[in-house]
């Protein structure tokens, strides 16, 4: 009963704040245009050689980026899920930072590190053009999504019952065979899940593509933006949107099948991890070296951005940017006027909006993941995944058009941001929840544990890591959002990405970088708190089923 109520509520929410706004824009666009003309235009767009080229490129770069991100994440996922080592908590939290960076800041990070006059080139004394081409796109996508792969795969890896491995070993299985025949099949759902999510994110990539892709490379999302905001051809935009939706939901549905086929129910639970020092020497050296390179890959660009923020135009150390930003009246520019908010206002509002959106996303995703546990509802799940595939350019325009006059801007932003985070968080939680066995819950109930005892001592601890991981992403995605705030906020709401965007619009890159540093530190603080909670249960716990 309450399950159908939940489903109905979610469907109603999607209908009101997702389907109606999108429909509203396109219906308005086609009003008064004869159906034959609409069909003609649609056919024209679909058969244009450029459309095929765009679809081919979009798919190809997304598959390559996702494959590299997942493959590169495997050794680290192993390390994180099997060993404890100093600095692990910090590194784990830091790895999420690229994910919350507005794309303009990602560009600045990538450029400071990999650019023609970037750190890497100046260390090597070279002048390589590393980023302004296809390589740059893939590099930036891997940088963006690396941590997502590590988090999803390591969470699953950690919950694999070691007795499977022990049993295989006692039957004489060698390490490689053990990995290929036991571990890999058990990890398959998580690997597929990570691959698909990263694939979809790269498939929908927007900011990265046009900075590094020049004119040659264009994704469907870019085409939608061009048609909507520049060519003002909403019919063409509708065709591209539909194409993007059909392809993405198609990929997701295929992946769901693969995940269901590979799913193995197993008992998991937290257990203490041995320190890295207990690994074999070769393993230890390999893992340490690998981690150092990976950290340089992900953190190098972020740290170079920090360094840029701390230097002035002459290359000397300077806190001038921070001083002008934080001390009222210190700047010759009217900083509050440019931001149209004070800095504490930006911080307060960013946190309030991200926490509101994030909590809404998390609770609904968790409730649905638990309700759907062990059930297969492919149609409903595809429906729930739809927002990930929809162009937020269109969604924001529709939200403002349909609800702008009646719903206050801040509420509309939260309602709209829900769709940015929900598909990813739902998928993380659904994968995590479905992989856990239910033996412990049953045992506790049979033993007569009270209602709250079961909840407190069994259910939440079993799912703790999955839940907190989901919550971290539920907060991170709204935090980084620029599109919905700008469109649905009607210029009245300044969050971090908006403030950075406004500073850059005023040519104040120095202040924008300083603000980006403050933003990264605040995000990092939040992730540290969340990850600390999730890793708290380090004490050995008895495995049982």
């Amino acid at each position: 009963m309450s399950r159908s109520l939940l489903y109905a509520g979610v469907v109603a929410y999607f209908a009101l704040f997702f389907l109606v706004p999108i429909g509203g824009v396109y219906v308005e666009a086609m009003r008064g245009v004869p159906a034959a003309a609409v069909l003609d235009r649609a056919r024209g767009v679909l058969t244009a050689p450029r459309t095929m080229r765009v679809v081919g490129f979009t798919t190809g770069q997304a598959a390559l980026s996702a494959a590299i991100a997942v493959a590169a994440a495997m050794p680290l996922a192993y390390m994180v899920s099997h060993y404890s080592f100093p600095g692990k908590r910090l590194a784990y939290s830091l790895s999420l930072v690229p994910f919350v960076l507005p794309s303009i800041i990602v560009v600045v990070c990538m450029i400071s590190f990999y650019g023609k006059s970037g750190l890497l080139n100046s260390i090597l004394g070279t002048d390589f053009n590393l980023v302004y081409n296809f390589r740059g796109i893939v590099l930036a996508h891997v940088f963006y999504n690396f941590s997502l792969a590590i988090r999803i795969i390591s969470t699953a890896w950690r919950s694999i019952d070691r007795r499977f491995a022990e049993a295989a070993e006692s039957l004489g299985e060698r390490p490689l065979g053990l990995f290929l025949r036991v571990t890999l099949p058990l990890l398959a759902p998580a690997i597929v899940s990570a691959f698909v999510l990263i694939f979809i994110y790269c498939f929908l990539s927007f900011g990265i593509i046009l900075v590094f892709g020049g004119v040659r490379f264009s994704t469907l999302e870019v085409a939608i933006y061009q048609e909507t905001y520049v060519n003002l051809d909403l019919i063409a935009a509708a065709v591209y949107s539909t194409l993007q939706l059909v392809l993405s939901v198609g990929f997701l549905a295929l992946a769901s099948r693969a995940i269901v086929a590979a799913r193995v129910s197993r008992s998991g639970g937290e257990r203490g991890l041995p320190p890295l020092a207990t690994a074999s020497t070769a393993g230890r050296i390999f893992m340490t070296a690998y981690a150092v390179v990976a950290i340089a890959f992900v953190l190098g660009p972020v740290l170079t951005m920090f360094a840029r923020a701390l230097t002035n135009a002459n290359g000397a150390f300077s806190l001038e940017g921070f001083r002008q930003l934080l001390i009222p009246g210190a700047a010759d520019r009217n900083v509050e006027g440019i931001l149209r908010s004070s800095i504490p206002g930006v911080i307060w509002r960013s946190v309030a909006i991200a926490v509101s959106s994030g909590t809404l996303i998390f609770l609904l995703a968790a409730a649905l993941a638990l309700s759907l546990r062990g059930r297969s509802r492919p149609g409903f799940e595809s429906f729930l995944q739809m927002p990930i595939a929809m162009s937020f350019v269109t969604v924001s325009l529709g939200l403002r058009f349909v609800w702008g006059a009646t719903v206050p801007p801040a509420v509309l932003v939260v309602l709209g941001q829900f769709f940015i985070g929900f598909p990813l968080v739902f998928r993380i939680l659904r994968t995590g929840v479905d992989e856990l066995g239910d033996g412990l819950v049953r045992s506790a109930e049979i033993l007569g544990a009270s209602r709250w005892a079961v909840l407190r001592d069994v259910e939440v601890p079993l799912l703790r890591r999955t839940l907190l991981n989901g919550y971290a992403y539920a907060l991170a995605l709204p935090f980084a959002d620029l599109t919905v705030v700008l469109a649905a906020g009607r210029g009245r709401i300044a969050t971090f990405p908006v403030a950075i965007y406004r500073l850059i619009g005023f040519r104040s890159f120095d202040l924008a970088l300083a603000l980006a540093v403050i933003y990264v530190l605040i995000c990092l603080g939040l992730f540290l708190v969340i990850d600390a909670t999730s890793m708290h249960a380090q004490e050995p716990r008895r495995d049982s089923a």
């Binding site: 939940l6 824009v25 308005e28 303009i104 560009v107 450029i111 650019g115 023609k116 046009l210 900075v211 590094f212 020049g214 004119v215 905001y229 520049v230 060519n231 193995v264 197993r266 135009a313 010759d332 009217n334 006027g337 440019i338 149209r340 908010s341 509002r349 309030a352 909006i353 509101s356 909590t359 809404l360 609770l363 609904l364 968790a366 409730a367 638990l370 309700s371 546990r373 062990g374 403002r400 058009f401 206050p408 801007p409 801040a410 509420v411 939260v414 239910d438 819950v441 209602r451 799912l463 700008l486 009607r490 210029g491 009245r492 709401i493 965007y501 850059i504 619009g505 040519r507 890159f509």
Partner: protein
């Protein structure tokens, strides 16, 4: 290899689930409350005076707050009216909002459409004619709509900038820009997604002719480092030192002089050419408060408003009788303002763009 566990018996995670459902319901209420508080704070000032009978103005996000204050103060003091200013993303977002609401506009006036959108806005009949009292003070070449459905209020030149520290000896002709010494040295913007990019493409069409511009771009392309989607990204790369030449505005160097006290960034003027980017304002067809909307257009053209434009908006005033601040007089400017007629551009742009794209692929 492994069988799924049988799922008989009591359902697991039941309590967590029911707890989450209850929390979801509570949260819906909390979110509404939190969001209301968040926007209540933001709008505390504006909301109280939000009288729908006054004046509603649409613009883009980057419209300077200082100019908004100027407008608000003027209306409060002169007419006892507090205007509401709503910002809709960028220029494209502004146009879309106006167009979607065209049957029943909520706004009375719009500020900030530019060349890219003027032709379509006029064709869609979004604006009604109003010739402001001081229309004659506007520089002649900027009057793009003789019927004054759209009135120019600021303008600027789109042209290349260069970093004099990295390029002490800049090119001065279109031909010199093709010099192999400038290989991978220019950052441009995509004409399909950015206003400066579009205007620069038009400049090459105007200078090299419809028959010659593609050939020019073909020869230019080895010197282009990258073509970004928007001005922000491209200009960001430039200030990060990625390339010594960037497509920007004639008024970008004065920014660095006025606020960063450096004149290393300069205008790169090729044969005295600059492409005029004109920003316009207008009274919407079907506006509820036509009187106040007209007063707004008048105010935008007043000397009081015009002289604030350079240092706030980094564009030029449209009146010839307003003096520029010192920082603007320190830089070189293009003497020849090029501007293709709006209808000619609208008729041909799609073709020029797709031909250009084929060349640059």
């Amino acid at each position: 290899m492994f069988q799924p566990l049988p799922s008989a018996g009591p359902e697991p995670f039941r309590r967590l689930r029911s707890l989450l459902r209850t929390m979801s319901a509570l949260l819906a209420a909390f979110v509404l409350l939190a969001a209301l508080v968040a926007c209540g704070r933001d709008e505390a000032a504006g909301e109280a005076a939000d009288d729908p009978g006054a004046l509603t103005i649409y613009t883009y996000d980057a419209f300077p707050q200082s100019l908004e204050v100027l407008i608000t103060t003027h209306f409060e003091e002169a007419y006892g009216v507090t205007p509401t200013l709503e910002r809709h993303q960028d220029t494209g977002g502004l146009y879309n909002q106006l167009w979607l609401e065209r049957a029943a506009p909520r706004a009375d006036a719009a500020i900030g459409l530019d060349n890219t959108y003027i032709g379509r806005a006029l064709e869609a009949g979004l604006f009604q004619a109003y010739r402001p009292g001081e229309a004659d003070a506007i520089r002649d070449h900027l009057v793009i709509d003789p019927e004054f459905r759209l009135t120019p209020f600021d303008w600027g030149h789109v042209l290349l900038n260069y970093d004099s520290e990295r390029l002490p000896d800049p090119p001065t002709t279109w031909e010199e820009l093709l010099d192999p010494r400038l290989s991978e040295s220019i950052i441009l913007m995509n004409p399909a997604t950015s206003s400066p990019g579009r205007n620069f493409l038009l400049l090459t069409v105007a200078v090299h002719g419809e028959d010659g511009y593609l050939d020019y771009w073909r020869r230019l392309s080895p010197n282009i480092l990258t073509i970004t989607s928007g001005w922000s990204e491209g200009y960001g790369l430039y200030t990060q030192g990625e390339a010594p030449i960037v497509l920007s505005y004639e008024s970008s160097p004065p920014y660095h002089i006025a606020f960063e006290d450096t004149d290393r960034y300069r205008n790169l003027i090729l044969e005295d050419h600059g492409y005029a980017q004109i920003e316009v304002a207008g009274v919407l067809s079907g506006a509820a408060n036509v009187e106040n909307a007209r007063r707004l257009i008048d105010f935008l053209l007043s000397v009081d408003f015009q002289r604030e434009i350079p240092l706030n908006q980094f564009m030029y005033p449209v009146r010839a009788d307003v003096e520029l601040p010192e920082a603007f007089n320190l830089v070189e400017t293009a003497g020849t303002s090029i501007f293709l007629p709006v209808d000619e551009v609208d008729e041909n742009f799609d073709r020029w763009l797709s031909d250009w794209r084929e060349v640059m692929q």
